[in-house]
Symmetry: C2
Subunit: 456 residues, 2 copies
Amino acid sequence: MDKLFAYADRQRDAFVDGLKEFLRFDSISSDPARAATCAKTAEWIAAHVKGLGFQESRVIPMEHGHPLVYAFHPGPPGAPTVLIYGHYDVMPVDPLELWTCPPFEPCIKDGKIWGRGATDDKGQVWIHLKALETLLKVNGGKLPVSVKLLFEGQEEVGSEALTAWLPDHADLAACDVIMVSDSSMLSKGVPSINYGLRGLAYFQIELEAANGDLHSGTFGGAVANPINVLAKLLADLKDADNRVTIPGFYDDVLPISEEEKANYAKLPEGTAELLAGTGAPAAYGEKGFTTAQRTSARPTLDANGIWGGYMAEGAKTVLPAKAGMKVSMRLVPNQDLKKITTAFREHVKRLTPGAVRLRITEMHGGRWFLCPLDEPMIQKAAAALQEVFGHECLFTREGGSIPIVADMAAILKKPVVLMGFGLNSEQAHAPNEHFDLENFHLGVKTALVYMQKLGS
Amino acid sequence: MDKLFAYADRQRDAFVDGLKEFLRFDSISSDPARAATCAKTAEWIAAHVKGLGFQESRVIPMEHGHPLVYAFHPGPPGAPTVLIYGHYDVMPVDPLELWTCPPFEPCIKDGKIWGRGATDDKGQVWIHLKALETLLKVNGGKLPVSVKLLFEGQEEVGSEALTAWLPDHADLAACDVIMVSDSSMLSKGVPSINYGLRGLAYFQIELEAANGDLHSGTFGGAVANPINVLAKLLADLKDADNRVTIPGFYDDVLPISEEEKANYAKLPEGTAELLAGTGAPAAYGEKGFTTAQRTSARPTLDANGIWGGYMAEGAKTVLPAKAGMKVSMRLVPNQDLKKITTAFREHVKRLTPGAVRLRITEMHGGRWFLCPLDEPMIQKAAAALQEVFGHECLFTREGGSIPIVADMAAILKKPVVLMGFGLNSEQAHAPNEHFDLENFHLGVKTALVYMQKLGS
């Protein structure tokens, strides 16, 4: 272990330089114009992994979507197989003008690396690659366990290609444990394992009230204004207690158990800490729950975007023809995506007056995930985290969605260990995304310890 | 009169060619980048008027804003003075992709001239200039009345410069009647005079819930979503009967008199006709009023634009930091702009939760206008319209706002005759604005007859 740590310590700067190179790819998966960049990113990773000494490392083209990176290196006979999952794609970067350091020209500042993908998920993928490099270099090309790598390029748009591919390639991906680092730890210095993720149902709603924009003087008051109607529709989706009004929405929501309440009580962060750095004037959410519960064990409904009419400078007295919004719901165990989708569609139709034309588009959805806390693979991971970080590993549920996690668990029928090294404050999906470099280096060591534990 | 009509008939094509030239100026007053274009447009008109034989025609720079065109030509001693008001500025043109004919490359199709400003207001200004040309050419440089021209470049952004200028230059603008053609006639073949206009109060509302965009998974459910809050705010500004909820909003609204109800009953257009061409699936508005009443004698509240979060293609699971909207109210007699502004601000503040920061900006406002129906200047105008169009002139109230009309009436203390030659279907303020050329030519003749009547 000392030798491994010594190597990792010596290579700190080299590791970070490599990550910078990785972050320079503007691999935004939702942008069709960047398909070639995504393919190039995959080729670059596959080549890098091959260079580390992996027996097999290749790019697998997907029928629809960006390619997959798959790699394999065998461990000793009888050793378990760890499948390490991650994604090389990133979110869009607008509004671009808010970035201090350009999103694809990473820079180091305040002990952090800044750039799109730094924490979500390139930085966390890099942790595992650098741990594997360390093991291979120090041990003469040998690993304590068999390792498979599966890095996809569409996590930020719903992982559909991988989800479609996986059932037919379950043998190729067969393993004993699935290791995922694509989430956050509790806070700096406090390691944690996520045993739950929220699901997602994402829709686009468009309203059309006329064939073209109208003069608000001439027609104002006599025809429906799609912005006003859309606003009322969105407002009607929640009640005064910030509860979602879709009939049956809460029917299958698992109540928070007593054991979980005890876990929540252990969490060092209160509402103030969770909100610190966001600049939010106050907490605001579903009545009857704490901020930590609201962001993990409770479902939500949020507009992610809205548009309509005149949005530029100045005043234009237009009665717009159209308006639209993107609305997503974070789902929790045991809400059923299909059932919620149907209920949402019906509720929206019911709330929409006949004076506008309604169009609902399903964007993407993902199942929630929940793993038993007594799973040995999780307990070993918690031990590794505790050893490296010198702090008890806490158990949390994460508010975000990683649809592929639920799918991998269901298809490969193996436990998924969600070991996140990000921080909530690291602006994932927002301008000025960054990743704490101390967590990066501790992450490499944690991965080393975990793989040694699994192999022993 | 025959000679005048004969000249106007001979010059039909030349008149339209001149209007095309006028429409080619992209004089969008709200765009600071087009200030030079607006100035050029003013110079062009002043030169054109001088070329018609006016004694005086010049551009008057404004302290803030685009210049004014002022012109004067004396009539016979003792003849009344007509002040003809119009505006050479136009509305923005987005969304540009919806225009069949580019907005500033006018074309003739289906007996109409297409381009931004065609009906609002360049085409209607051109009617008066061509009537004046006819009188001057046929009568050897003489007019039957004294004529003053006042063409401004900021009507579409609230006429503030002219409103500020007018009180100090009331002598220069002194007249016996103010003639304005900047509105619509009832329908093709049915001339009308507007004796009322709605006022306007226009605001921008911005909400900020955090210092930057947040991940909707990590923070969703625990902090306010400015889009959801904004939607609720907008929805709460109206009740289930589509009545505005601002306390006191209807207190000063004049009920529709029995005489006015009789006028409304005479109008040939029903709801179906008013909505025809808009593509609106149904009428939608304040309970208890007809479409014609809703668009003229009743106040409204409409969002003119809304924005926030991710508006591009695809799905982004962002919890936006900010959202905003433009909201305007059409005001009617005797609502007071200041009182409504204060009530609106207070109501919006009251409706906004403490979990977001609120910013309200007053964009512009304008008073409503109402003129007595028995005013002789109006009765003569009605007679001229009836003579040329061969149809009884009806009396209507217009839904749009021309703030400067109320201001001119108040400052110059003279009747304002609103003789509109546009049609409601002509897409003022929207893509594919156009102007019916038959109405244009009849408009020229009506202006000729009216000036002869005033001079005799």
